[in-house]
């Protein structure tokens, strides 16, 4: 049996309590995501991809099921946890359209993604300013390094680091969200349409980053994407969700060539 990073078991979810009126979004969804791989998650609009991420990251409750997460030394049922502990066990998330703390500076937006970014406990670090300052210096250096690696030496983000993040364009906000994820180490990244609405050149760069995080650090990545090309370049494996069920699983080429998928996406 192959090692998994996430095993979704018998997951059932509906958004209304009246089961007859609206069908279940997920009806006993069962799927295993292999560890150390990039997995593409495809599906039509409204298929439930984002909702699946929301359940995994504990922002939305489900009706039934388990989600087993392999933490390296033990298996944890994520459904028993709260949203705020996921970062601590190595799960990071990029949202579809919610990337920034608007009234914080670009730099603060990055720093907040760092390990221990709030101190061990805010009250204790309240009085340990010196130690905190040193840690912060390290975090700032890391932020600078990440931005340089991603966007080059004289990048917009670093030069305008003290501007409010709300001034960024939507594409830039998404990039900032991606850069923030790199501020700490993860075991699993959930990326919700990381390349939607960004420039083709930047899209290639993001694909490269995704591959690099995966190969150099062995981070498992689940990526929701509508763009065939992105899936082709980044994903080792791909699964297609249709009407709350897994309609097809396999290597990206197969999925993209799959008649059901082609019918849903291209209409042929």
């Amino acid at each position: 049996m192959s090692k998994y990073i996430l095993k979704i078991n018998d997951l059932t979810k509906s958004f209304t309590s009246d089961k007859d009126k609206s069908p279940l979004l997920f009806d006993s969804l069962t799927i295993e995501f292999p560890a150390g791989a990039v997995i593409g998650l495809m599906g039509t609009n409204g298929a439930g991809k984002t909702t699946l991420f929301n359940i995994i990251s504990r922002l939305v409750d489900c009706d039934k099921g388990n989600i087993w997460y392999d933490n390296g030394d033990k298996q944890i049922d994520l459904l028993k946890l709260k949203a705020n502990v996921l970062k601590g066990i190595g799960i990071g998330r990029l949202f579809q359209d919610n990337h920034i703390f608007a009234d914080m500076t670009i730099l603060d937006n990055l720093l907040i993604g760092g390990e221990d970014s709030f101190g061990e406990t805010p009250f204790i670090t309240l009085f340990k300013r010196k130690k905190h300052k040193e840690k912060e210096k390290i975090r700032v250096a890391k932020a600078k390094m990440i931005l340089t690696e991603l966007f080059g030496k004289d990048n917009y983000f670093w030069q305008n680091r003290n501007n409010y993040a709300s001034e960024l364009s939507y594409g830039q906000q998404r990039l900032l969200g991606i850069a923030r994820l790199l501020m700490s180490d993860h075991k699993l990244l959930l990326l919700d349409e990381p390349t939607a609405g960004v420039h083709p050149e930047i899209r290639e760069m993001i694909c490269e980053v995704i591959r690099k995080i995966n190969t150099s650090k062995g981070v498992s990545i689940i990526i929701i994407e509508h763009n065939f090309k992105v899936i082709e370049v980044t994903a080792d494996e791909c699964c297609f969700i249709d009407q709350g069920e897994i309609a097809a699983v396999g290597p990206p080429e197969d999925i993209i060539g799959n008649p059901i998928v082609r019918k849903k996406y291209i209409g042929i």
Binding site: D103, F118, P122, H132, S166
Partner: protein, 290 residues
């Protein structure tokens, strides 16, 4: 001369409005709860003090300290037992606001039942005053001003310089993302309600020490707080300060130009003018609209 005296009074009152409004903003900016229950806390703090100081004969600083702590605990309990369960059930903000009105009603009735409806005087001495070049400031006014300013300053140091400040700013910006960043917002809320409770307790104590209290002082104060909060700019933390001093000074000018009876009316006229011409307030964020 009278004008300057009134302006001084206005600025002192403005400091108290600022503090009270800041406590309201701490709750609203993060949780988006229109915390009407806040008005009950303004009233209950001096009643705790009255019980401890006048009835039980504790010394004054201990009485002040304990009544602030008790008010803080009630503030936390309101969140824990009423707002948080509604939040977890994902109730609409209308439901939360209505339950908040319920909180006030209950607390006001309980206090009226226990202590009676009549006005209670906390400090029956003729207030000592400080006179300088014809101006008069009473000692209670000095306490009002200094305690408000100190608490405001402490809060802004915490907000700008500490990890807790980052959490508060991040929380008020984006309550979903902040959870993904590792913050337990339910626990943070308790802390914020505690801070907010301390602020309104100090405002309530310092005003009631000056002019006494009855069970119904909360609502008029809340109206000032809300107006200061709105014209200062919803969502910001500096807004309540600007709004608070603005209201304080305007009300002083109202006394000068018309009479003190017009204070509330003028306050609301200002609110309406703001809502029409500058709904985002002095410091409101300019959202990206398109």
């Amino acid at each position: 001369m009278l004008l300057i005296q009134l302006l001084i009074n206005g600025i002192i009152m403005g400091a108290v409005y600022s503090l009270a409004s800041l406590g309201f903003a701490i709750v609203y900016n993060t949780t988006k709860i229109f915390h009407i229950g806040y008005s009950a806390l303004y009233m209950i703090a001096p009643y705790f003090f009255w019980q401890l100081y006048t009835k039980l004969g504790l010394n004054i600083s201990l009485s002040i300290f304990v009544s602030i702590i008790l008010t803080m605990i009630i503030s936390i309990l309101i969140d824990k037992t009423i707002y948080q369960p509604l939040f977890i059930k994902k109730s609409s903000s209308n439901v939360v606001t209505i339950s908040s009105i319920g909180v006030v009603t209950i607390i006001v009735n309980v206090i009226a039942m226990i202590f009676g409806n009549e006005t209670k005087i906390l400090n029956s001495d003729i207030a000592n005053t400080i006179k300088f070049s014809g101006m008069i400031v009473t000692y209670p006014q000095v306490y009002q001003f200094i305690s408000s300013i100190i608490i405001i300053i402490i809060f802004f140091i915490v907000l700008k310089k500490t990890n807790l400040g980052i959490i508060i700013r991040a929380f008020s910006n984006n309550d979903v993302l902040v959870q993904i960043m590792g913050i337990n917002i339910l626990r943070t809320r308790l802390l914020l309600f505690g801070i907010s409770g301390i602020m309104i307790a100090i405002a309530g104590l310092s005003i009631s020490y000056d002019v006494g209290m009855d069970p119904y002082i909360g609502m008029p104060m809340l109206l000032n707080v809300i107006v200061a909060f709105i014209i200062g700019g919803i969502g910001s933390f500096a807004g309540p300060l600007i709004g608070g001093f603005f209201i304080g000074v305007i009300q002083a000018l109202t006394i000068w130009m018309f009479s003190s009876k017009w204070q509330s009316a003028i306050t609301f006229i200002i609110l309406i003018i703001f809502l029409i011409f500058r709904p985002q307030g002095f410091l409101g964020k300019k959202e990206r609209e398109v």
